[in-house]
């Protein structure tokens, strides 16, 4: 069983593309080999900035011979038909066999596909893989037409057996395969030959190349944390940066430095962002003070001066970068102190948010008005919410956010505090963008909640008004995330919002001008038509919220039919109420009584529905206890009375668990009733009374949720 080693050696592959490229290389090659009839025991891919490597162990030496029998024309078919069959099979007439079947003598061909040696298959699969590699962006170079992520220089492709290594011959646009590669660009640039994967990895290590990206990352992280620890400091964890840096070096050498005193007054987020974005430095924090005081940079080589020159160079670049940052910081503080946050925000009237939805300033005005309205509902002071909304996006005009867009909101918080604005207003600058994703917390401070809701609702109603809804995988304005944000804000804070009203008015007040009415029969005034259109869009947006809510609750383990049962009830535009109901119902269904009660309910409902269909009447009221026969039936009347006495007031008080517990308590009397009593008796009075009694069960239970929508 030979082992296969492939290395594609090129100019520097972007770090962000390497992980995906490793996976693609492994999949394309192994799939291709298997498709061609080879088997293998295991495969693994590695990469450095200059190479993509795949090792396949235990590859079969050749593909098996395949035989295929093909049915042809009848033996007495016209000459032409037989000739065609011979052509398509590549056989001669005497190689065909004749076999009798119902219709006569039929010709059969047995086509044999001989197995092929592994090198032949490997060469084909590798060439195809190189030519069709799914790089996110690829390029041509020189005078050739081959595409790769950057110029491809060499192809190493060998099969290793006990007898030794053999080059798999192939030639892709002038690049011939071989058994050689090169070490580190500067520390060991010479070419060398290899005979197996182990030999390859060992020789690379000797030539200052650490092949495995995970090993490089681990080496960097261990070395960085050890160095920081030795000085009583800690490295700020950043997995994305670690992966990127590991993809930029073949021979990682960790160097640590201190940030100049002049810059320690900058906000830690600024230091971190500047160092990460511009220089790919890790931040080093003093755990005692929480301040960022140093950095870790990763060089790609060892030097005679132990990195002193490299570190000095990096420090110099850092000083220049941080001087810029400090310049922005000081300018922004000056602006805020002289003109305030609202002064800083003034230029936003010239910044277009969306060409159909006006400027950022227009949008801020709408958000401020909505935040003012929402404030009392979430327990915030309306004036504070308005103020917070007005300044929350001011930092989009700051120099710092111009340089580092990812600091939006964070800088606003600093500048608002510098202006002396209330803490709730300052906090809302950052928090109103949250939650930014599933792992980000939703704000809980009332002013932040009000502005965060207003911000997201304005986005959603605005884009709904102009018919820019997400479709399939396309959601360029991140509207799904905005809707989920609203849901998490509302649920997390128990906010009671009349969504129908809020969405309708948001759409009505959006600056979008054009409305297309599909069913315009001319009977409506323009105002009525617009009104109808707005209501239709609001209903559509509410349905979008319901869909997102289902996804959200499903992730929390609540079944979709439970949600449907609650969505069918009035008040479904109050998401908090809806979820309370769904949670209570899910909890009830998880109890034995609850689950069985549903069965009892369904049985009652089925019998009743059938009887109503058959009799053509509705059994909806008038069940009387005096017609009850036997203790079980009497007991059910009493139980329903008790349940009704509890359920109605509990529902009114929105105490769903109490209402559902009362409903679940009906399980025993209902089961006992069905056990003991025959509904369809000959006595019509008793039968009618019992059907009316079933109707009471239905009515009582349906107060809680639409149980008919539950599955199972």
């Amino acid at each position: 069983m030979p082992d296969l080693l492939i290395e594609l050696f090129s100019e520097e592959i972007p770090a962000r593309m390497q992980a995906r490229a490793r996976a693609d290389l492994q999949k394309l090659i192994t799939d291709g080999l298997v498709e061609a009839g080879l088997t293998y025991a295991s495969a693994g891919a590695s990469s450095t900035p200059r190479r993509l490597t795949l090792a396949v162990e235990g590859l079969s030496a050749e593909s098996p011979t395949l035989r295929e029998e093909r049915k042809g024309p009848k033996a007495d078919a016209p000459e032409k038909a037989i000739e065609g069959f011979l052509r398509s099979t590549g056989l001669t007439r005497d190689q065909l066999v004749e076999r009798e079947d119902k219709k006569g003598t039929v010709l059969y061909a047995t086509i044999e596909r001989p197995g092929r040696p592994a090198p032949q298959i490997v060469a084909e699969v590798l060439e195809r893989t190189i030519r069709n590699f799914p790089w996110p962006k690829s390029m041509r170079w020189g005078a050739g037409s081959l595409r790769w992520v950057r110029p491809l220089h060499s192809i190493l492709c060998i099969l290793t057996t006990e007898a030794g290594a053999e080059v798999v011959p192939l030639n892709v646009d002038g690049i011939a395969s071989g058994d050689t590669t090169r070490g580190h660009r500067f520390m060991a640039p010479d070419a060398f030959a290899v005979t197996s994967f182990d030999d390859y990895a060992a020789k690379l290590r000797a030539a200052k190349v650490m092949l495995d990206p995970a090993e490089r990352a681990e080496h960097i992280w261990n070395d960085a944390t050890n160095r920081a620890f030795a000085q009583g400091l800690e490295v700020v964890e950043d997995k994305g940066l670690l992966e990127e840096v590991a993809g930029l070096v073949e021979w990682p050498v960790v160097l640590m430095g201190k940030i100049g005193e002049d810059f320690l007054g900058l906000p830690p987020e600024v230091l971190q962002t500047s160092m990460k974005e511009h220089q790919k430095f890790f931040s080093v924090r003093n755990p005692a003070t929480g301040r960022i005081e140093g950095f870790v940079t990763v060089a790609n080589r060892e030097t005679a001066d132990d990195g002193a020159t490299i570190l000095a160079g990096n420090l110099k670049v850092l000083a220049a970068r941080l001087s810029d940052a400090r310049f922005f910081w000081e300018n922004d503080l000056r602006t805020v102190k002289s003109e305030g946050m609202e002064g800083m925000a003034a230029g936003l009237s010239d910044v277009t948010f969306h060409n159909k939805l006006g400027s950022q300033a227009d949008r801020i005005a709408r958000i401020a008005a909505l935040a003012h309205e929402i404030a009392p509902i979430v327990g915030a002071a309306p004036d504070l919410a308005t103020e917070a909304a007005r300044v929350a996006k001011a930092d989009l005009q700051s120099e710092m956010v111009g340089e580092f867009p990812e600091l939006q909101g964070t800088m606003g918080g600093y500048y608002a505090r510098a202006e002396g604005l209330p803490e709730a207003v300052a906090a809302a600058c950052k928090a109103h963008y949250q939650p930014l994703g599933p792992s980000d917390d939703a704000p809980t401070e009332p002013v932040s909640v009000a502005v965060a809701l207003a911000d997201k609702l304005d986005t959603l109603t605005g884009f709904w008004a102009i018919d820019e809804k997400p479709t399939g995988s396309k959601d360029p304005f991140a509207l799904r995330r905005a809707a989920l944000g609203v849901i998490r804000l509302v649920l997390g804070n128990g906010v009671r919002l009349d969504f129908s009203e809020v969405l309708f008015r948001g759409i009505q007040q959006s600056p979008a001008q054009s409305f297309h009415e599909r069913t315009d029969d001319g009977s409506l005034s323009p105002e009525e038509r617009a009104d109808k259109n707005h209501h239709a869009k609001a209903a559509d947006l509410l349905a979008f919220f319901h869909d997102r809510l289902k996804v959200h609750l499903r992730d929390q383990g609540i079944r979709h039919d439970v949600i449907d049962a609650c969505l069918a009830m009035p008040g479904n535009d109050d998401l908090t109420l809806l979820v309370k109901r769904a949670e209570a119902l899910a909890a009830t269904l998880a109890t034995e009584d609850g689950a069985n009660l549903i069965q009892g309910f369904k049985r009652a409902n089925n019998i009743l529905t059938q009887a109503e269909e058959k009799d053509g009447v509705e059994y909806s009221f008038g069940a009387e206890a005096k017609f009850a026969e036997g203790p079980e039936e009497t007991a059910l009347f009493a139980a329903l009375d008790r349940a009704d006495a509890t359920i109605a007031p509990a529902m009114k008080a929105e105490d769903f668990p109490a209402a559902m517990a009362a409903m679940a308590a009906l399980r025993a009397p209902i089961d006992a009733f069905f056990e003991a009593v025959q509904i369809n008796t000959d006595n019509q009075v008793v039968r009618r009374n019992r059907l009316n009694l079933l109707s009471r069960i239905r009515t009582t239970c349906l107060q809680v949720a639409d149980l008919t929508r539950l599955e199972g």
Binding site: R140, W141, P151, A320
Partner: protein, 317 residues
């Protein structure tokens, strides 16, 4: 390579070493283009010559103007007028990275002590309708060059592909010479009878141009010049290919001069703050349209490879 070990003493020495290095490696050492441009790429020796099939190899220094970057000579790194060193080789040779690293050694960067890295940076020029893939080259964490394989210029696929190197000369020289403020950098040999620093040559002009760029430039006039340049470019290109004497002369270069003018006028207007965010895209689009038309015209000329393409077609027939 004995000279590559010695440390250069001045800005101009670094420049001259680059000229000597690339000249010795077969590049035609061109002179700066005699017009105001934002980057060395605008020189027709790059933009136009990267088009078509004819081999090309050129190196030159190009004074570049970025009006919005003016800081009255006070910022240690930012200038509204600076120098780019530009190399363009078509087709890109397979050892271009090694050639490039050799140029760093030639200006005194010791590869054994420094950390050189090729960090992904895709290049795109919306005004030229051009893009390419490559890297920014880092030396000890500092960007010292842009390294790009041109894929498209003026909307045309580059076949063959040119390799382009762009060095920001001031920044690179400051690094090599160990200078913190650009104005303190020795321009000529500090031991010469008349030692001059970068500031002696450029501080005053940085102040003057910063004031003019930001406060004084006549925007109405600049707008008119933009419109004029645009119109002239179109007019030149719409002239018949044959002149009165029946000679076929496509005027790609004169038209491209007008495109360069329009581009620089746009930069000046931008620095004056009279172009809104929405208008910005429209202006860039207008310059790009000119660049594309110039590229379309150039590829019909001899230098643009039109004759070679015709010959090839003839030979094939």
């Amino acid at each position: 390579m004995a000279d590559s070990v010695s440390q250069p003493k001045s800005f101009q020495e670094i420049l001259m070493r680059l000229q000597a290095y690339w000249g010795a490696r077969g590049c035609a050492v061109l002179q700066p283009y005699d017009m105001e441009v934002g980057a060395g790429t605008f020189h027709p020796g790059t933009t136009l010559r990267s088009l078509g099939s004819r081999p090309w190899a050129a190196a030159y220094v190009q004074p570049s103007r970025r009006p919005t970057d003016g800081r009255y000579g006070e910022n240690p790194n930012r200038l509204q007028h600076y120098y780019q060193y530009q190399v363009l080789i078509k087709p890109s040779p397979p050892d271009l990275q090694a050639l490039y690293l050799g140029s760093l050694e030639a200006i005194g960067i010791d590869m054994d002590l420094h950390d050189i890295r090729f960090v992904e940076d895709d290049w795109e020029s919306p005004t030229l309708g051009a893009w390419g893939l490559g890297w920014e080259v880092w030396c000890d964490g500092m960007e010292v060059s842009q390294f790009t394989y041109f894929q498209q210029v003026g909307g045309h696929d580059c076949r063959p592909v040119s390799g382009e190197l762009t060095y920001g000369l001031e920044r690179l020289a400051m690094y090599v010479l160990g200078i913190d403020h650009v104005m303190d950098m020795p321009f000529n040999d500090p031991s010469s009878p008349t030692p001059l620093k970068y500031g002696d040559v450029f501080r005053q002009t940085e102040q003057e141009y910063s004031r003019w760029n930001f406060d004084q430039a006549d925007t109405a006039m600049l707008l008119q010049h933009f419109v004029d340049a645009e119109a002239e470019c179109e007019r030149i290109l719409s002239a018949p290919a044959e002149d009165a004497a029946g000679r076929r002369i496509v005027m790609a270069h004169p038209a491209y001069d007008q495109c360069i003018k329009a581009s620089h006028l746009f930069n000046l207007l931008d620095a004056r703050g009279v172009i809104s965010v929405t208008e910005r895209q429209a202006y860039i689009g207008r310059v790009r349209a000119l660049a594309k038309k110039c590229a379309d015209a150039f590829v019909t000329t001899e230098a643009g490879g039109a004759m070679d393409a015709a010959e090839e077609a003839g030979a094939g027939a």
